[in-house]
Symmetry: C2
Subunit: 109 residues, 2 copies
């Protein structure tokens, strides 16, 4: 199949899965860490930093943009990407709620 049956889950479950999926690739994690490290924005230095082709980086950036995790601003010939603070806060809240629902003290089996 390859297609996910989103209609049988809650909106929250689908949204959390979507956000996690956008983060769930080492290239995208590395990209985000680069963006975070360079405090404000960076542009296509990513192609130099990571060992991936320009087309591949661009594709990963697109996915992060689609999930609203980053936003890009055209800056002359290059594009400046940065974290979308609103989505990032939502991420922290939603993932936090999900993870903290477990009492890691009691293990049963």
């Amino acid at each position: 199949m390859g297609i996910t049956k989103i209609e049988i889950y809650s909106v929250e479950q689908n949204r959390l899965a979507q956000l996690l999926k956008a983060l769930a690739h080492p290239a995208r994690i590395a990209i985000l860490q680069e963006i975070i490290k360079s405090n404000s924005c960076i542009c296509g230095d990513l192609v130099l930093e990571l060992g991936l082709a320009q087309a591949t980086i661009s594709q990963h950036l697109k996915e992060l943009k689609n999930a609203d995790i980053i936003q890009g601003t055209i800056e002359g010939a290059s594009v400046c990407y940065c974290i979308n603070p609103k989505t990032w806060k939502a991420l922290e809240t939603e993932i936090g709620n999900f993870l903290s629902a477990v009492n890691t003290g009691n293990n049963c089996c």
Copy 2:
């Protein structure tokens, strides 16, 4: 391609991506929430709770097991699944570190 170039990333980046990927499906989120809700363990009630075929549930459980997020104990004819507290703590730490690296106060573009 479909294959990820894991050799160009750090162990930490790959591990975090792997954990996130295991969580990044609404069915697996729903499964984990069911396990968490029923406090200790549940068995194949998942097939009844979610609207998925038994084979599909079993496959998702396997992926969660492979990522060491849950563990299963055979209990007669059925199997009892629960959260692996060790991995869950690691998840909280690693995701927490990753997310808290962003200062959501300053947005630049």
